[in-house]
């Protein structure tokens, strides 16, 4: 009888229920210590670079940082959706975006709160919101990545080029700049003509870099961090800044305080740290070679970053392009999804 009962119990759904509950409890309890943290960051910047900076902040301040990263597959869409959904009762304290116009859009939608700290003070006017709802730091440039194995590479030959889908990230910023400076009609014509001429459209800037590094295409539009990744891996590539009417496209990271942030004090502390010269210098010295926007010790900057800084001296004034981004994105969505 005992064996019979044992066998019956073995197959009951109760066992499964128990298993499920144990798993739920485990996962919940797993993060209890984390809930006692002091600041929550939604980070669209790549984890591989952001983690180092945030860990440094934790060590310096003793403040535990919880981060939610985005993914290549969901782009920054996930985090933006989350911030909008949580607008009335935010969980996030700090939004670290890897570009500027999306953050400025969130500011327009009332998701962000102002913070005028020492970090905000040290960043030049053109890279920050006048109302201090967001501040730019550590920028990247849009560049042509060029495979040097083919000395006859012609950047105008778009049939040998590649670009990321312009609905997201820095490629959207690139398009927005063109929208503003060229005007919608010229951009639309270029967009259609470039595809017709064989410009290969891929999933992200990382893929553009890989395609060019492997020689599948001669050149492509990407960001400086992707270029340096390819170069560091020994790929035969060179870069040239993308210029529109002589101005480069310099895209800073942005950091912002969330309106109604649950941990406002520590959030401000973190923002000030991210906007500090140390953090900018750390990102400049990282593999992504990001361009400090505030004053830093020039002598400590890697030579490559110094060159980038020169290129970014004359750049497109992105801060005023928020409306263009909305219009451009609406057009792109109609192109790609309707």
């Amino acid at each position: 009888m005992r064996r019979e009962a044992e066998a019956a119990a073995f197959i009951r759904d109760r066992t499964l229920l128990l298993l499920g509950l144990v798993a739920v409890l485990f996962v919940t309890l797993w993060r209890l210590p984390a809930l006692r943290s002091s600041v929550v960051v939604y980070c669209a910047h790549d984890a591989v670079f952001a983690e180092e900076i945030l860990r440094d902040f934790e060590m310096r301040s003793g403040v535990k940082v919880l981060v939610r990263y985005d993914t290549e597959a969901t782009k920054s869409l996930g985090l933006v959706e989350l911030l909008l959904a949580e607008k009335d009762a935010p969980r996030c304290d700090v939004f670290w975006n890897n570009e500027m116009l999306g953050t400025a859009d969130l500011a327009e939608r009332g998701v962000l709160a102002p913070h005028r700290g020492p970090g905000w003070e040290r960043i030049p006017e053109q890279w920050k919101d006048a109302d201090a709802r967001w501040t730019g730091f550590a920028a990247r440039l849009r560049v042509h990545i060029i495979n040097t194995r083919n000395p006859a590479t012609d950047l105008d030959d778009l049939s040998r080029g590649a670009i990321a889908k312009p609905l997201y990230g820095t490629t959207l910023t690139h398009y927005t700049a063109l929208w503003h400076l060229w005007g919608p009609e010229r951009l639309k014509t270029w967009h259609h003509e470039s595809r017709a001429r064989g410009l290969r459209e891929v999933n992200g800037n990382g893929m553009v870099k890989d395609i060019v590094a492997r020689g599948a295409r001669d050149h492509g539009f990407t960001d400086t961090d992707d270029f340096f990744d390819a170069k560091d891996r020994g790929a035969l590539v060179a870069m040239k800044p993308v210029r529109i009417d002589g101005a480069s496209i310099c895209i800073p990271n942005t950091v912002a305080l969330i309106r109604g942030a649950p941990h406002e004090a520590t959030a401000r502390q973190l923002i000030d740290y991210l906007l500090s010269a140390e953090a900018e210098m750390a990102l400049a010295k990282s593999k992504s070679r990001q361009i400090p926007l505030g004053p830093v010790d020039e002598n400590q900057l890697p030579a490559e970053v110094r060159e980038l800084r020169e290129w970014s001296a004359k750049c497109v004034p992105l801060a005023g392009f928020v409306k263009d981004r909305v219009e451009c994105l609406a057009w792109l969505k109609s192109e790609y999804t309707e």
Partner: protein, 427 residues
């Protein structure tokens, strides 16, 4: 091409793909069972899209446009083809070999009449398999996105760039959901004969094809990534964050798989929300958990577990129904009367364990909902890996991918193996 046209084109494309996957996989079913065969059949199905695209990068980078789309379609089709063989293994045809021979002895008829006879006689399992293959190809987002192939799922995702009102989201997915529903309803309408069949004499053929598919879809990507990871495993030991993410994903899948199995008991309607797809369902739940009282839930893994359950519910429904129809009730009753753990395992628990393992892996590998709904501090491991994959291949990332793929498989194998051992020590 507009969204509606893309949906129609994808429906057509996926019908062809599902048909091809079926045509390749179904004849491979019904073979002599062995561990090698089972592993080779399951491995391609559970191979994460990220790992496949990561390993296939040298190929995918070289080609674009229609070549890439064709490559994507072939990979997806081969990845899913073993499902048809598994379905045939698990749910043999109700038409016995003798009955099939009796049909061959019939007076000569046209090929069409013979084909129609075979189609009707085969029962619902081939159709259910075709339907599942269609649903899986039609709703694929991750592999299509990673390969930068234009599909309605990718278009739907793009439509959410910069935010999209939930009502517009729902309006947009009305057509694809209707197509999925139509496929499911079409399965339920005909009066099927009994689905139960006996396992006939195993035919040894097809194993080399099964191995070839497994090598192509699982073996080569794993080998390539393992090669890239050669120096990365040492650094993996210090990746505490990665280990924590892995545990989180395992925990969520371990909650979702048995959860959905229990939830599905007699509740077919639970399978419907999953048809909305991960993106829309996750965004709807995200909006829901902002409501004041429900808001308490958003710092728990419950919304994510609930959505994972709903997402795997359609597959759970199909699996549960098939297992129910094929459980030898009299034999099971006798086994229970005898209190034989071994018999109970063989007759009832082994198929259930297999189904739960499959659901576990599906929940574990799910990416979109996991990215959107994971509570802060709990990062599902594949969300992190997708993030890291941005910068391309590296030794550590390759090691992480291998670990993230093999650890749950190994855990499952150990768990199911231990349960089997316990059941078989029936003295």
């Amino acid at each position: 091409m507009n969204f509606t046209a893309q949906v129609a084109l994808d429906a057509l494309r996926c019908a062809v793909l599902a048909g091809a996957a079926f045509a390749i996989g179904w004849p491979l079913g019904g073979g002599r069972r062995s561990t090698l065969r089972t592993v080779c059949l399951i491995a391609p199905l559970l191979m994460p899209s990220l790992l496949i695209s990561y390993a296939a990068a040298p190929v995918t980078l070289m080609f674009g446009g229609s070549m890439l789309a064709a490559f994507y379609s072939v990979l997806l089709m081969l990845k899913l083809a073993p499902l048809a063989a598994l379905a045939r293994d698990c749910f043999p045809s109700p038409l016995s070999a003798e009955a099939a021979f009796c049909a061959r002895l019939l007076p000569a008829e046209g090929a069409a009449a013979r084909a129609w006879f075979a189609v009707r006689a085969a029962g619902p399992v081939p159709w259910a398999t075709l339907a599942v293959l269609f649903l899986l190809t039609f709703t694929d987002f991750e592999l299509a996105s990673l390969f930068a192939v234009k599909t309605w799922t990718v278009m739907l995702f793009d439509a959410h760039a910069g935010g999209l009102d939930p009502s517009l989201s729902l309006r947009r997915i009305a057509l694809p959901v209707t197509i999925q529903l139509a496929v499911i309803v079409a399965l339920l309408v005909p009066r099927w004969s009994a689905t139960s069949g006996r396992v006939g004499a195993a035919r040894g053929g097809g194993l080399h094809f099964i191995i070839a598919i497994a090598v192509l879809i699982a073996g080569l990507p794993l080998a390539r990534v393992a090669w890239l990871a050669a120096t990365g495993f040492a650094q993996l030991r210090v990746q505490e964050v990665f280990a924590a993410d892995l545990v989180v994903s395992l925990g969520i899948a371990a909650a979702a798989a048995p959860g959905v199995w229990l939830l599905m008991r007699g509740r077919a309607l639970v399978a419907l929300p999953g048809l909305l797809g991960a993106l829309v369902l996750a965004l709807l739940v995200l909006a829901f958990i902002q409501v004041p009282v429900v808001r308490l839930l958003r710092d728990t893994p419950l919304p994510l577990i609930a959505v994972e359950m709903l997402l795997i519910a359609p597959i759970a429904f199909v699996l549960r129904e098939l297992i129910r129809a094929h459980t030898p009730r009299e034999a099971l009753h006798l086994a229970r009367m005898a209190g034989s753990r071994r018999l109970i395992w063989d007759l009832a628990l082994a198929p259930r364990a297999g189904a739960l393992a499959l659901l576990f892996m599906l929940a574990y590998f799910e990416l979109t909902a996991a990215t959107i709904l994971a509570p802060i501090g709990l990062t599902p491991v594949f969300a992190r890996l997708h993030n890291l994959a941005h910068y391309g291949q590296s030794a550590v990332l390759s090691a992480m991918l291998i670990a993230a793929t093999l650890v749950p498989a190994a855990l499952l194998a150990l768990t199911v193996g231990a349960a089997r051992l316990y059941a078989r020590r029936d003295d």
